[in-house]
């Protein structure tokens, strides 16, 4: 059996006295693309931060690419929903994307030709090759989001976490975004977090619903069509009135 890209077992987490994650179990195989759906405030971003090792759960076990979240750093790409930085910061697009190469640098501390090539390639994949020298303050919201995707791609990650990636992408780019994702999943496992059912397309291998607890839906039982009929149009009031399948024990998935 191959090592799972990500596994969470019995993860509990409270923040400021509020229970955010309750007994979360999750397993993701290499190359698998999973969407985690849930309304706003359901703990989706918190779950990603646990995987990234930015938040420590009170209980449970988290294994990322066969290691602890802290040890997996540098191999896990992350595209945040909201830029955690100051839009007015004096920095150019290429320097932001090069941040994705910080872990891959040699001992001398600087970026070499390989790092620059990886950053340029990442910018090309998000269709922004001509924006490299622009200051980030001059970009539109959608362009900035693509720069953040490029930064995660430049890491050449084995696991990629995307928080609401389609939120500010326009339709045209939205389409090519899914192509990009399909291409990526050849080398990496991908987790996409969204509150928007429209973001889930045929490229997603499996779907899980999060609302403090996580419910796994093996792809064969739950196609986007099934989901849509189960949830109706409004994903904001995600009601779990359909039958849920608890996360299968490892090794039995897809059996």
């Amino acid at each position: 059996m191959t090592q799972p890209a990500l596994s969470l077992e019995g993860v509990w987490l409270s923040r400021r006295g509020v229970l955010v994650l309750e007994d979360v179990h999750l397993a993701l195989d290499p190359g698998e693309v999973m969407a985690i759906l849930g309304p706003n405030g359901s703990g989706k971003t918190t779950l990603l931060k646990v995987v990234l090792g930015l938040l420590a759960p009170q209980r449970g076990r988290v294994q990322v690419l066969g290691a602890s979240p802290a040890r997996a750093r540098g191999r896990v790409g992350y595209v945040p929903q909201h830029a955690a930085f100051d839009r007015d910061f004096p920095i150019r697009v290429i320097d932001v994307v090069l941040m994705g190469r910080l872990h891959a640098r040699g001992l001398r501390g600087g970026f070499d030709a390989r790092d620059h090539a990886a950053a340029r390639a990442a910018l090309e994949r998000v269709e922004l090759p001509d924006q490299a020298a622009r200051p980030i303050g001059a970009l539109s919201g959608g362009q900035l989001q693509r720069v953040l995707i490029a930064r995660a791609l430049a890491m050449e990650p084995r696991l990629l976490l995307l928080d609401e990636p389609t939120a500010s992408l326009d339709e045209r780019v939205g389409g090519s975004f899914w192509d990009l994702l399909a291409e990526l999943s050849r080398n990496a496992a991908v987790v996409i977090v969204s509150h928007d059912i429209g973001a889930v397309s045929r490229n997603v291998g499996s779907v899980a619903c999060l609302n403090r607890r996580l419910f796994m839906h093996p792809s064969r039982r739950l196609t986007p069509d099934v989901l849509e009929s189960a949830y109706g149009a409004s994903m904001d009031t995600l009601a779990h009135d359909h039958a849920h399948h608890p996360a299968p024990p490892r090794g039995t998935r897809g059996a």
Binding site: R73, A84, I91, V96, L102
Partner: protein, 281 residues
């Protein structure tokens, strides 16, 4: 006033001011970009506690200043991401505690401390060659560190969360950056004093931000502006005092520190206007 340039003592003063301005341009850029000028202010006021301890115990006040400023940098740097809303309190407390400790130490020290004012507002006209060497060495340390760790510092200042995701030791890097800033501040204390340091650290960098879209260029502009302000402030201070030689009694005694800060603030105003006029704002 330009004949001052030929005087050996003034050449020494200029060299000291010039070297201190270089450290200031490099570090001020990070301080302004990360918006931590109040943090930097608290480091310089913490340094004053060390000045007082130096008087009391009998070692060089600048050594005490460096010790206290670096200690404050380590404490605040470690608390920076853990204290959350308490950060503001931590900064203000360090700020006031440094001053309080300095004044208490000085009052306990035997005899009157005659050049306390020089630590508060600067005393560049009375620097020794030793000081020039120390500032030069610190410039070298700061310059090499910034060169070597530029991408790391930039990442930590720009986006701490992602810096952590790629595996940088964010807290350690931030403490190192703050400790370097503390050392830079200590060199500036001789130029403009504890109270005015924050202006010389941030105003040239803020002018740099007007005309640069990345940290490297911002550093370049900030350093040039800091050097220009320091040199012209010194010349002006000397020239105003020297007027008495032309016409007895006409000389005005004006310390260079406040003049340097006033020049920098004026330049900032002009730069803002020019920026608006050229459509960059």
């Amino acid at each position: 006033m330009l004949e001052a340039l030929g005087l050996p003592f003034f050449q020494r003063v200029l060299l000291a001011g010039l070297l201190a301005s270089i450290a200031c341009g490099m570090l001020g850029t990070f301080v302004v970009a990360k918006r931590i000028s109040s943090l930097a202010g608290s480091l310089s006021h913490a340094a004053f506690g060390g000045v007082g301890l130096g008087y009391l115990v009998g070692f060089h006040p600048m050594l005490g200043a460096a010790l206290f400023a670096v200690l404050a940098a380590v404490v605040i740097g470690q608390g920076y991401r853990r204290t959350g809303s308490g950060l503001d309190t931590l900064i203000s407390m360090t700020w006031a505690l440094g001053m309080a400790a300095g004044i208490l130490f000085v009052s306990l020290a035997p005899g009157y401390a005659p050049d306390l004012m020089s630590y508060l507002f600067g005393s560049l006209l009375f620097v020794s060659w030793d000081y020039v060497w120390i500032v030069g060495a610190l410039d070298l340390v700061i310059g090499l560190s910034v060169y070597r760790l530029f991408a790391d510092f930039q990442a930590v200042c720009f986006d701490e969360e992602f810096a952590e995701v790629v595996g940088l030791p964010v807290e350690r890097l931030f403490v190192v950056l703050l400790a370097l800033t503390a050392l830079g501040i200590v060199t500036l204390i001789r130029v403009v004093g504890v109270i005015l340091v924050i202006a010389l650290l941030t105003v040239p960098a803020a002018i740099g931000r007007h005309w640069a879209d990345d940290l490297r260029r911002m550093m370049l502009v900030a350093t040039v502006v800091a050097v220009a302000c320091t040199v012209s402030g010194l010349l002006l201070s000397y020239g105003l005092g020297d007027l008495s030689r032309v016409r007895p009694g006409a000389g005005i005694s004006m310390p260079p520190g406040p003049l340097i800060v006033l020049l920098a603030a004026t330049l900032y105003g002009l730069s803002s206007l020019l920026r608006r006029a050229t459509g960059r704002a």
